[in-house]
Symmetry: C2
Subunit: 371 residues, 2 copies
């Protein structure tokens, strides 16, 4: 999407044709810095330190890590080493394994001298495929926003609430939850986005607000506690969030706090949609609450906040009572019964085993993997 009028993707080849440029997301929202990555190790550091984050972007970045490795030494040994090293950067990320499997599977049969060029072609295709998938999610979600705008009759903007960052920064372009919003905005539909700040890492306040603002989409940052109140008062027409994993029964694992917003939407009859690329569906899991383990991250993410001081320096402050322990659960699971629909690149499915099967008829059994 656009940053102050100029189109960007979150990852691209540098002008030299071989090194990789990413937006250093740890510097956002205060500095817009392009980081140039020239070795597989630099790629691994970028993923581990969350210079790049978001499932699809992590996969694309890892793919380019394999390219850089093959450019240095296209041997089997280096290919396997790059695979293992990159896979270890974010062990829970499903897209990371998927992209690395795809790269290694394509390169292994080739003669070493063919591998570097083939790797770059394949990484570029992974990126282009992600853009196409997200664009399709956008087109499918756009219809929902169009319908709501028609009901609002131009009297007021369509108010959409989102949680965390499922925007173009989390993907190669467009985003998942934000793709319909960008398409609707670009189509001239008046809309306004309530942006949950998304504690503890503030991806909403820092990233979603940044990308919406740079693209020119009207929005307002709120703390995570506010959404229920807004829905009680008719100030939200639609919720759209992203997801890290959807079960075969339509349960949704996403950033911690998603479940609370889904409860409020259900209680106030606000439609609650989840946007996702098809590979996010984990056909091997049915009951999200019982079967999906929830990652716990370090408690310092809760007790410390990093931002920019008035004098322009980056500072980290302790906000909790000294000595008080903190717990940091990273995700929660929203049961399918609270979800109005799943916006995929294939279309919109009901959040249920039946709804998903209708859209993915080739998935005859919930135990057969899609990827």
């Amino acid at each position: 999407m656009k940053v102050d009028g100029v189109h960007y993707r979150s990852i691209r080849l540098a002008a030299d044709g071989w090194s990789v440029e990413v937006i250093d997301q740890t510097k956002l929202p205060h500095d817009f810095v392009i980081a140039r990555l020239t070795t597989p190790d630099e790629i691994a550091v970028a993923i581990r330190t969350m210079q790049v984050r978001g499932a699809p972007l992590i996969g694309a970045t890892a793919a380019y890590g394999v390219c850089l490795a093959m450019r240095e030494d296209p041997s089997d040994r280096v290919l396997d080493h790059a695979y293992e090293m990159l896979l270890a950067t974010r062990p829970t990320a499903v897209n990371l394994r998927w992209a690395l499997d795809d790269m290694r599977g394509a390169l292994r049969p080739l003669a070493p001298r063919e591998r570097a060029a083939a790797a770059y072609r394949r990484a570029a295709r992974i990126c282009d495929d992600d853009v196409a998938i997200n664009r399709a999610i956008g087109d499918n979600g756009l219809k929902l926003i169009r319908d709501l705008a028609a009901r609002a009759k131009g009297d007021r903007p369509v108010n959409i609430l989102t949680h965390c960052n499922a925007g173009w920064l989390a993907t190669v372009d467009w985003g998942t939850a934000l793709a319909p919003i960008y398409l609707a905005h670009d189509a001239g539909i008046p809309l306004h986005v309530w942006v949950d700040e998304t504690r503890p890492r503030n991806q909403g306040a820092a990233l979603t607000a940044w990308e919406l603002g740079r693209h020119g989409v009207p929005h307002t940052v709120i703390v995570d506690n506010v959404g229920g109140h807004l829905m009680q008062h008719g100030m939200v027409d639609l919720c759209i969030v992203g997801t890290d994993r959807v079960t075969a029964a339509g349960d949704v694992c996403n950033k911690i706090g998603t479940y609370l917003k889904a409860l409020a939407a259900h209680d106030n009859r606000v439609p609650f949609y989840v946007a996702l690329p098809s590979p996010t569906i984990d056909w091997t899991v049915a009951d999200g609450l019982r079967e999906i383990p929830i990652e716990q991250r370090e408690s310092a993410e809760v007790t410390r906040v990093t931002g920019r001081t008035a004098s322009g320096e980056t500072a980290t402050v302790e906000i909790a009572a000294p000595g008080s322990p903190a717990a940091n659960y990273a995700f929660d699971v929203t049961p399918a019964r609270l979800i109005t629909g799943l916006i995929t690149d294939r279309g919109i499915a009901a959040a249920s085993r039946e709804g998903l099967r209708r859209l993915y008829p080739e998935q005859v059994s919930p135990r057969r993997s899609v990827v």
Copy 2:
């Protein structure tokens, strides 16, 4: 309650016998500073800047504001001016109006020369009454915790979730929501408190965690997004929160985000109780959602976070995308249908018109005021 073994109240007369000492809560949790207030204006600033906060403590502090005014000039004009000036500091706080009405009502009939001494007596009684009321709330809520502890059979602590700060810092002593917790802890019942950090002002992470920690009560700080996940996994036995205003029908106005936790409790059959002193019931209001106006505070509370740096300095950092607007709704209303019971100083009432009438039979009509 105790701070590292020494008993404190949140407000008291200074050793000079006339000026007022409060704990400067804006300095917590990093510094424990007693602020001395000597004029009605200083009292108003202390309330407005939230050096003191929490409905009962605001009322008690305002009462002492009237004392200081009467000490300077016990005229009708100054009494009325102090009343209006203090009332304007926090327009939504019902206890503020109640305390000011009580003070003016008692002082107006007196000869001016009698007013200062009478004011100090009355303010002291307001404080002592608050302590007695909270102790009674504690005794009534203690039974709930005892029952849960009996069911846990000593195998595990009783897990209690609370939102914001309704502890002794919000009252003169004991607190409302935390009073049963302190009594249970002091009685040797094993318990553990999940403390919602309570954005945007972090009263949970800063104040509730501080007072629980200083008194020795086991607790863990969590971001506001986590409570639903914990309840889904059986990690919460009981929720207890405070309230700023309860309607005649049992709707509860409290810190923003309370409604989301009540929804999660209801969805997971976790008992959700609200602790309150009887004067918090506003018999003139029935439908909380339609009739209670919600205070909006400045957006900088959302976009800026203040804390302590590693080098021990206080710093404020911007966390949101520069230029992104923010909205700051301070309270929400939890409908009575989501509330298991109201823990009052008289006993526990069902959160309904009938439940409240049974406990307050003198309230023959919801339009008749209790105070």
